[in-house]
């Protein structure tokens, strides 16, 4: 299958070198990229974009698009001698493939295209998964200047902005108009979506390169098995189908939980830093339209009936999880699901892209994956279904970059609807779709599967942000520590919530309460209001 064609490193290096060479020699022609490249297969009226494969024109751009403006502005900087020879981008190891591997067959890679259009080398430095923030803080606190662009979890945006380690991008946004809120192609939820993903305290500090919305998956072979359906209906009195409520979810998971046969009911619980997406989903759906974590005055709302019962449910759900659940990371979760080890799971939206993939010979669930909306609760006559945005890679420009504007322009080019759709369709990395144009794109839909894409789009509309203001990690660590204590039985649900509240108060004191209240308010604006009908 051509989708999975990987190129060898050596071949890749030589292509990259050639591209660089050609550009260097002919750089002057690229001040107006469109004209120079028209002969190379661009569609009529297009000034840039990938070529060489069927449907390439969807990712090409005409003049006065965010992508074209970015390229033009970079080349203008270049002409003025204000552009660098290379831009260093620190990126999670697992995502690099999306920038360096050509996709689909016949296409250049993202990196090659950027270098061809601008003549600026894109130097991608891999950062181990999970160490992104550590590496960035090292660079910020030691003034290392190793990167022009940092790509870190979205939750850290507030922390990073407060360090002064990343650049406020407002002026560049105003000057180059990325059109992120475009109603047809832009972020889900328009300006609200942009504020959710890219802004901190009203200013743009990041450019989202990801859509880490936690999406539910199930095994279609199990759910459509007549024998299973009959057995389930006999037992619970309703049809076996992807769950609409948490109660159904827990019953179905318990029904399928057969550890001695290598099948777990659900596998969304994971270890430190990953596991509480499940808790979040249960907690925020406790009120209509949302159960918030903090009140407007900054006091925590978790040590409450809602918090305790969400925690109790969360602890009880361990019964239908892998016994190893709380030592797993997502890699173990994916591996288990790929080997057919779970009936349901909640994961990043790329799970079907990787595991329901004929190119993945290790996967036993190819063709057997289905997606469904998050379970919810019936409150005041409607169904509150909520999921969370967790992790999500965002790129920011380092304050130490000598060429912040050129770096921003790379991000504008990369993060705009046409190039991003093309990039996210590439199965070689973690970047997931999050823009309207992504969800509609046939190539993306082919990679991510039709059945999944619509569920993702609808889940996005039901997504609440996790904590993304200063102290995010400290808040999450305290919550995590207490949740695990509850899971392992060393604390009751009530004790866990009470202790979390105490520790949160201490974190808040250190951060500064004023700063926090403001950030909490800004964050609240990004919470969804959509509700579903019952039944």
């Amino acid at each position: 299958m051509s989708m999975t064609t990987a190129i060898s490193r050596r071949r890749f290096l030589s292509t990259a070198a050639n591209a660089g060479l050609v550009t260097a020699v002919s750089a002057p022609f690229y001040i107006r990229p469109g004209r120079a490249r028209a002969a190379a297969g661009l569609a009529d009226g297009m000034v840039g974009g990938p070529t060489g494969f069927d449907g390439a024109e969807r990712y090409q751009y005409g003049p006065d698009t965010p992508e074209a403006r970015a390229i033009e502005a970079v080349n203008a900087l270049k002409g003025a001698g204000k552009a660098p020879d290379r831009i260093v981008l620190g990126l999670s190891d697992g995502s690099i493939g999306q920038l360096t591997q050509p996709f689909p067959a016949g296409a250049p890679s993202i990196k090659e295209l950027w270098e061809a259009e601008t003549g600026i080398t894109l130097d991608i430095v891999g950062v181990p998964n999970g160490q992104e923030f550590t590496k960035v803080m090292q660079d910020v606190s030691t003034k290392g200047g190793a990167f022009d662009i940092y790509a870190v979890e979205w939750n850290r945006l507030g922390d990073l902005a407060e360090t002064g380690g990343i650049v406020n991008l407002d002026d560049y946004v105003a000057a180059h108009r990325p059109e992120w809120d475009n109603a047809e192609r832009g972020y889900v939820g328009g300006a609200q979506g942009v504020s959710l993903l890219n802004n901190y305290r009203g200013s743009t500090y990041g450019v989202s390169l990801d859509g880490d919305f936690q999406i539910w998956n199930h095994r279609t072979d199990l759910f459509s098995d007549p024998a299973e359906q009959k057995a389930f209906a006999d037992k619970h009195g309703y049809e076996l189908a992807p769950p609409r409520t948490w109660k159904q979810h827990d019953e179905i998971a318990a029904f399928f939980h057969r550890p001695d046969k290598g099948l777990f009911g659900s596998t969304d619980l994971r270890n430190q830093g990953w596991g509480y997406t499940n808790w979040y989903q249960r907690f925020v759906s406790m009120a209509s339209p949302n159960q918030f974590l903090f009140a407007d005055d900054g006091s925590a709302l978790i040590n409450s009936e809602a918090g305790i019962s969400a925690t109790q449910e969360y602890v009880d759900s361990l019964a239908h999880h892998s016994p190893d659940a709380i030592s797993w990371g997502w890699p173990e979760q994916y591996g288990n699901f790929a080997s057919g080890g779970a009936a349901m799971t909640c994961a990043f939206s790329n799970l079907p892209k990787f595991l329901d993939n004929a190119g993945n010979e290790g996967s036993k669930v190819t063709g057997l994956v289905g997606s469904h909306l998050p379970p919810g609760r019936e409150i005041d006559g409607s169904l509150i279904r909520r999921t969370v945005l967790w992790l999500n890679l965002s790129a920011s420009v380092s304050s130490q970059s000598k060429h912040p504007e050129a770096s921003y322009l790379l991000l504008q080019w990369l993060g705009s609807s046409r190039i991003y759709s093309w990039m996210t369709a590439n199965p070689g990395g973690y970047f997931d779709p999050f823009q309207l144009s992504n969800f509609a794109d046939p190539l993306v839909r082919q990679t991510y599967h039709d059945y999944h894409m619509d569920v993702v789009r609808e889940s996005v509309a039901r997504t609440v942000p996790t904590i993304n203001y200063p102290g995010a990690t400290a808040f999450h660590n305290a919550l995590d520590e207490n949740l695990v204590a509850a899971l392992t039985g060393s604390k009751t649900a009530a004790e866990a919530m009470a202790d979390t509240e105490k520790q949160w108060a201490r974190v808040a004191r250190r951060i500064g309460e004023d700063k926090l209240v403001e950030a909490i308010k800004a964050n609240k604006a990004a919470w969804p209001t959509i509700t579903d009908p019952i039944g």
Partner: protein, 286 residues
């Protein structure tokens, strides 16, 4: 000692079972390194002790040949991290051995050094994690972040106490008359150290250097904090070996783990006969 038959049987049984037990993790790693992806990708699901279809794919992958099954693009092969580990551990060992050995000699022969022994013990006991913030800031100021020599310098300093204590006991053990003889026969103090003492200490130097090297080679924490991209070491690089499709690349990790065991094992074999004597801190003098 007793040589009764039941005793001998018990002895062999005890030895063999302990040896077998200690081998389990290593064998598991070795078998993992030669397993194709299908045999390790699912966590614990398909437990096989031996690779059903042994392959060198994991090693090939580390050195740049990407496997069609793994759809993962490494931004670099294992070559650079191996080089980084080698350079930083070797030069760290040199720094530790040179400064530690000469200080040990100075203290053993001339009583110089004052509180050095205590300072060195404290240096060794102190968890490096607790000073990493100022060290990071210092290293940044000196431009040593993400360089192999910056890493080698830290390694040299934190393992120097080991080199110092080991070598000091050897110097204390060495008969003074041999050096005296060389002095009488026309050598200067420094020349005695160079021509007589050091060559005589070759076995001691070799075994001390091996232990210091193993300590440096094993480090994960310091390299994690002092390198960012060009000079990450093997243990840090190992964290990069994961793929979006299959999760942790245990096969590749195991293969790299096997490669990482090669230098210490080779050194260990090379100095095997001095090994036992090497770590006793002079306690055998009696």
């Amino acid at each position: 000692m007793n040589r009764s038959l039941p005793f001998e049987i018990f002895r062999y049984a005890a030895i063999l079972s302990l040896v077998a037990l200690s081998l389990v993790p290593t064998l598991w790693m070795a078998s993992m390194a030669f397993k194709p992806i299908a045999e390790w990708s699912a966590t614990g699901a398909d437990l096989t002790w031996w690779p059903k279809s042994p392959t060198l794919d994991n090693f090939r992958f580390l050195f740049g040949e990407s496997s069609s099954e793994l759809i993962v693009a490494l931004d670099r092969t294992a070559g650079q991290p191996i080089l980084s580990s080698l350079l930083s551990a070797v030069f760290g060992t040199l720094i530790a051995m040179i400064s530690g050995t000469s200080a040990a000699y100075g203290l053993s022969r001339f009583g110089s050094g004052g509180n050095l022994p205590l300072a060195l013990i404290q240096l060794r006991i102190f968890p490096p994690m607790a000073v990493m913030i100022p060290v990071m800031i210092m290293w940044a100021f000196l431009g040593l972040i993400d360089t192999w020599y910056g890493l080698a310098l830290v390694y040299g300093i934190v393992t120097m106490p080991f080199a110092f204590w080991l070598m000091k006991t050897f110097f204390d053990d060495m008969p003074r008359e041999i050096e005296d003889a060389a002095l009488v026969e026309g050598c200067s103090r420094l020349r005695v150290f160079w021509k007589i003492t050091l060559p005589m200490m070759r076995p001691a130097l070799a075994s001390s250097a091996l232990f210091v090297f193993i300590l440096n080679w094993s480090d994960y924490l310091i390299a994690l904090l002092l390198t960012t991209r060009d000079w990450v070491t093997i243990p840090v690089y190992m964290a990069s070996l994961s793929s979006s499709m299959t999760g942790q690349l245990y096969g590749a990790k195991a293969a790299l783990g096997l490669i990482a065991a090669i230098p210490p094992v080779i050194l260990g074999i090379a100095i095997q006969k001095h090994l036992v004597r090497g770590l006793t801190f002079g306690a055998l003098k009696q």
